[in-house]
Subunit: 142 residues, 2 copies
């Protein structure tokens, strides 16, 4: 990001959000991403304070990658970005609901949503098709 | 619950689910509840192995209450039960998506969803009306 402070109103918005969120003992909060118009639940990931601030400042969703230990700007490698449409916090402040506009697919497997394993009477079935191959998602984009 | 074992097919289904879920170091997994037909994201709570097994066995959603340290049969006090419609696990097994049929309201504040705090330019607004008073939800029902 360019080295500039957000406008005062935006800084206030970030401060409001951070004051309302009950981060856990690791400084993280779970964030659910839902496609704003279709209602599909796309994924769940984690945010820290910096991820919340960056998401609200840029309008592009940024998580905290627990496995990599750094900010995870969704779509940075794959191009499958999430534009923030609305930011909701639940009744006790410990979960965020992000209404987003997802470019392409949310899942690293190339499926629209990460929740494609559906339990049926005789075990799990895959309820979502692969729309983009993993090679196309991650093959030399950056 | 009556003291009876689930039918073999159901036991197999529970075993399949438990084998696919990556419980965290506390033995818990986050579970998102979504109204199956409207797509509303109602709440997020946690499940342990017993809560998953009971939910699949009874068809009524049961969580694990971290604050009370016991199984939380959703609606047991308030009557606002969640009937399980579909059970999904995400790509890496560490989040569950429950498609449910919610009786009444999901939130203890009497709102349909827990995600009623919506961030606007000048701070949070409340995006959902109270449909049932807390007194009516918890006043002497059990």
């Amino acid at each position: 990001m360019p080295d500039q402070s957000p406008a005062p109103a935006l800084g206030q918005k970030v401060a409001e959000a951070l004051s309302r969120i009950a981060f856990n003992s690791d400084g993280l909060v779970p964030a659910i991403a839902q496609q704003h118009d279709t209602g599909e639940v796309l994924m769940m990931a984690w945010m820290n304070r910096d991820a919340v601030a960056e998401t609200l400042t840029t309008g592009r969703v940024c998580y905290w990658s627990r496995s990599r230990g750094k900010l995870w700007r969704k779509g940075e490698s794959s191009g499958q970005v999430q534009r923030l449409v609305a930011f909701h916090v639940d009744c006790d402040g410990d979960t965020i609901l992000l209404k987003v506009d997802q470019t392409g697919v949310a899942c690293h497997t190339g499926r629209r949503t990460c929740f494609f394993n559906k339990l049926e009477a005789d075990g799990f079935t895959i309820s979502e098709p692969v729309l983009v191959s993993e090679a196309d998602l991650y093959g030399g984009r950056d």
